[in-house]
């Protein structure tokens, strides 16, 4: 693991590049607050921890800025070391020159990414799980992930792991009971106790495992992908979604052969809406690359939308297997309803929710009477549309149903209280796999020595979860991929 030195560190905690009214500098690891006197126009010797003081930051007699200084004494600070926080004016030029003041004489050095938290961990101000929770907290893209970050930080998830460790301990004890004490308690009692303990342990592990069965990357920055053949109407849907959106966050430019994405907000969650290149067989090398990219994006996406023009020949690419939602475009045309039914049946997509949209210029509704045949599209609300673009209320209704489906999937996922820390998920998956294998192969083994040896291996996996085991690589991983304090 890369070891940081013990030198005092400084960083701007609110970001250096962005313009803001106030920026927060943190200084940590100095021996004595008085050693900072040289940077200020007053002596800091008598200042009281946790109280704010208005000070001038000076460089060779010249005042650089007026700032609010708060001192946190070692042990009771975030890092566990002596720490000072300085609220300075937020202009990047100002921030940069003050950082330079603290570092140019070599007294401080700029903190490495994550180093404040590293020091907090090192000084036992945070547990490893808490650090991982902090990562979720700071890098969360949605409220749910954010709140799990908070929950880890508070130790809730940790408590669930501790429970697993406890159940494991009873399982282990039940084996020892069989080996060392069966004369005392009786063979049968001892054996039943073992079976019970294994069931309790396995149940809890299974529950934890259920919480890991989530496409994590999809959840941390969820995206909605539109796929379909060329001219299926993906771009129309894309624009329709954006037109009804009020909170566009940013825009990513792209070409039609690449993909275009926009951020949209649905019920408090930021999604990346992606319009992909049309799927079709092609000899054009560049276009083929675009299609590969589309398939790739499709696979990683949280919500997968298939856009179909019922009036052109339909075939599903083999890579496309899982669909969350279907949008039929061009449904203003005669006979759309029948074609849609046919496609759904042939593609085996019954039960997938979806909508129909129509694009008739004059705003007429088209062959509405046919829609009663669209039963197979969705389990609850079957279909909306076709919708003329001028009929604002119908567009709203359709989009709202579409968005409802997206939000539903997200909520269902969050209700399973997914474990968002990748390392935890991996360890749980590996423990569960091992426990399942044990259950099917060894649970009925008469050789208790073998039972016990296999259970021990399981134990190593359980303790890995708590962060006791092999902390070397774990710590390394956390601090190398982890950016706070800057």
């Amino acid at each position: 693991m890369k070891l940081f030195d013990q030198k005092p560190i400084v960083a701007c905690s609110s970001g250096v590049e962005s313009k803001c009214a106030i920026s927060l500098l943190r200084l940590s690891g100095f021996e004595d607050i008085s050693s900072l006197n040289k940077y200020f126009d007053r002596s800091l010797k008598a200042i009281v921890p946790r109280k704010s003081y208005l000070v001038n930051i000076v460089d060779k007699g010249k005042v650089l800025d007026q700032a609010l200084l708060t001192f946190f004494k070692g042990q009771k600070s975030y890092t566990g070391e002596n720490t000072a926080e300085l609220s300075i004016h937020g202009n990047p030029i100002n921030v940069k020159r003050i950082l330079k003041l603290f570092t140019s004489d070599g007294f401080f050095r700029l903190a490495e990414p994550g180093e404040f938290t590293y020091r907090a961990l090192k000084n036992q101000k945070l547990t490893l799980s808490q650090v991982e929770g902090l990562d979720s907290l700071l890098n969360a893209n949605s409220e749910a992930v954010f709140s799990q970050g908070l929950s880890i930080l508070r130790g809730d998830l940790h408590a669930s792991y501790i429970k697993l460790l406890k159940l494991y301990t009873s399982l282990k004890s039940s084996i020892e009971l069989m080996i060392d004490f069966s004369e005392d308690v009786g063979e049968e009692t001892a054996y039943n106790n073992f079976l019970d303990s294994f069931c309790h342990f396995f149940d809890h592990l299974e529950k934890l495992h259920a919480r890991t069965r989530v496409n994590l990357s999809g959840l941390l920055s969820p995206s909605i992908v539109l796929i379909g053949k060329t001219n299926a109407g993906k771009s129309t849907v894309f624009n329709l979604m954006l037109n009804t959106q009020r909170s566009i966050i940013s825009s990513t430019p792209g070409t039609t052969r690449d993909y275009i994405s926009e951020y949209i907000d649905i019920k408090g969650v930021n999604y990346k809406l992606i319009d992909t290149a049309g799927l079709r067989k092609t000899d054009d090398n560049i276009e083929a690359q675009g299609i590969d990219l589309a398939i790739d994006v499709y696979k990683k996406s949280f919500f997968k939308v298939l856009v179909i023009n019922p009036h052109i020949e339909f075939d599903l690419p083999t890579e496309v297997s899982e669909i969350d939602f279907i949008i039929f475009s061009h449904c203003e045309l005669e006979g759309s309803a029948d074609l849609c039914s046919k496609i759904i049946l042939e593609a085996g997509l019954e039960g997938t929710p979806g909508i129909l949209i129509g694009l008739k210029e004059d705003g007429s509704m088209g062959p509405l009477e046919k829609f009663k045949f669209f039963g197979p599209i969705g389990p609850k609300k079957l279909s909306v549309g076709p919708i003329g673009p001028k009929e604002e209320s119908h567009i709203r209704e359709a989009i709202s149903y579409f968005e409802g489906s997206i939000a539903l999937k997200y909520e269902e996922l969050m209700q399973t209280d997914p474990i968002v820390v990748e390392r935890h998920s991996e360890v749980i998956r590996s423990a569960f796999l091992y426990a399942s294998e044990f259950k099917s192969i060894h649970l009925n083994n008469e050789d208790v020595g073998i039972l016990s040896s296999e259970i021990n291996i399981l134990g190593e996996k359980v303790s890995e979860l708590i962060g006791v085991v092999n902390p070397d690589s774990v710590l390394n991983n956390v601090f190398m991929n982890f950016c706070i304090g800057k």
């Binding site: 060392d180 004490f181 004369e183 020595g449 073998i450 006791v468 092999n470 902390p471």
Partner: protein, 617 residues
Amino acid sequence: MNFNLTVVGGGHAGLEAAWIAAELGLKVALITSPNVKIGSTPCNPAIGGVGKGQVVREIDAMGGLMGLLADLSGIQYRTLNESKGYAVQSTRVQLDKDIYASNAEKLITSHKNITVIQKKVDKIERDKLGSFLFFDELRDLIVESDKVVVTTGTFLGGVLHRGCEKKKGGRVGCSSSKDLRDLFANVKTLGKKFKTGTPPRLDKNTINFSKMMPQPSDIKANSFHCLHKSSQRFLPQVECYLTRTNEETLEIIRENKEDSPIFNGQIQGVGPRYCPSIEDKAFRYPDRNTHHVFIEPEGLETQSVYPNGVSTSLPASIQESFIRTISGLENVEFLVHGYAVEYDVVDVTQLDETLQSQDIEGLYFAGQINGTSGYEEAAGQGLIAGINAALSFLGKSPLVFNRMDSYIGVMVGDLTSNKRDEPYRLFTARSENRLFIREDNVINRLAPYRKALGQNRALDKFQSQYLEDYNLLSELCESYLYKKNSKNMNYFNQAGYGSLEENITLAELLKRAHLDPVETLFKELNNFGVQFLDSSVRSVAISKKYAGYIKRASTETEKIQKLSLKKINWEMLASSKNISHECRLRISQIRPSSFGQLRQIEGIRPATLAFVAGNFI
């Protein structure tokens, strides 16, 4: 009188320490209290048991006495956990106590390097040259020696309890020794006493055995001493009997709670949870109204029997009334009443892995004084202390047993790495390598340690012959191939070996889950018409069976094992500002030398381990 080594105490620890040191050529003085027999077994009349059987064989493989003495006095053998697989099987033997003690005395007194002195040591001092001086109560010098192994069992500061009776003593009918601190200044005790107890002894002639279930001796069980034949017996074999306590028994005990020294506060010492008195059982498990009582003879001639399971310190009259409620014991007469004893123990965390005091060079402790219980545990420590006192005297490097290949290693490692809150008993659970630390492969495991002693006796010759045999057979198992042909397929079928889908080796056959590897190997060797030592056949067969599991366990836990072996500097940790106060306190008390030891310490937080692993390793 000048000796190289003085052993104080002639119990199981003292015997082994004195014997092995004498074998290594040291002049040894064994000082024991007058009136206390050498090698007595003051509690249950049995040696061995789960885990303990392995220890007896380990001692035996090192040239110790316990296995030999147990065989010579064995009157009933059993293989425990026989149905649970070879790895967890252990041997236990019931003893004739008198024969055990008289053989022990004979052996010890006949060794040319051992002088037995029956005196009570009152004070141990050290002169300027570093020699230990032993004084009696009259301040007369008894002996003087370079090294000392203290094995005083329950005698230091011993207090006996029976009802409200309370008197000084290490054992019934024996006076106690002084407090440890009076005996030897500067030795730290744990600061609290431990407690142990023993049941009453009953008169065999007044027991109605027809109401109890007999438990015969197992004629196949392997004897302990490796130079004995595998099921050789030296004495007639007898039966033990099983009976039970009932509601009436427990009611009497529950009614007399105030008279129980354990529950009325008279006894402060901590007793072992794994060996509860009948009072403990009655009060701690109110839902249970019956418990096993094993009736074990204490010898062939003696009238005394030991009712295993009813250890008690209740007043004599109450003992009589509750014992007489037990089926078959209605008219039983008491020879000795049960009692409890509290005794001083040393703080073993101040000992190093050779059981030498870290503060006083040349001073070793072994046995119950170290807070352990059990004859086997005591003997194992005696062996380690004796060997290392001798090696140190001879200017050789110490011999430390690895916890991955012996229960003695597990025990010494556990003792010296952790403060104990209750008497320590060896359980197989304490080992990380249980599939490997078995009875059958004891010579494979211990021969390298024995070799380090540089002896050339019958034992050493036997061990090298065994290993030769073992290696040859092991190679044969790996190389012998059953080709897939109709003859072999038929044979497999008819022998119940299962199908033969491809060519397999004999070793692979032995691994098949539904086969007993030992039976199978014997059968195949018989077919081949080749002869090997029974003990090597057994051990090879079992080793092949477990090899895959052991390898799997070791690769799966490799990361941890690697980390555990890493050395740490406890002084650096103890002065680190980044470790919590309590953790630092535990670290400086226990002085762990490796990450594995640190991990074993109770109360060390995960965060501390993570920190140490990340920064100090």
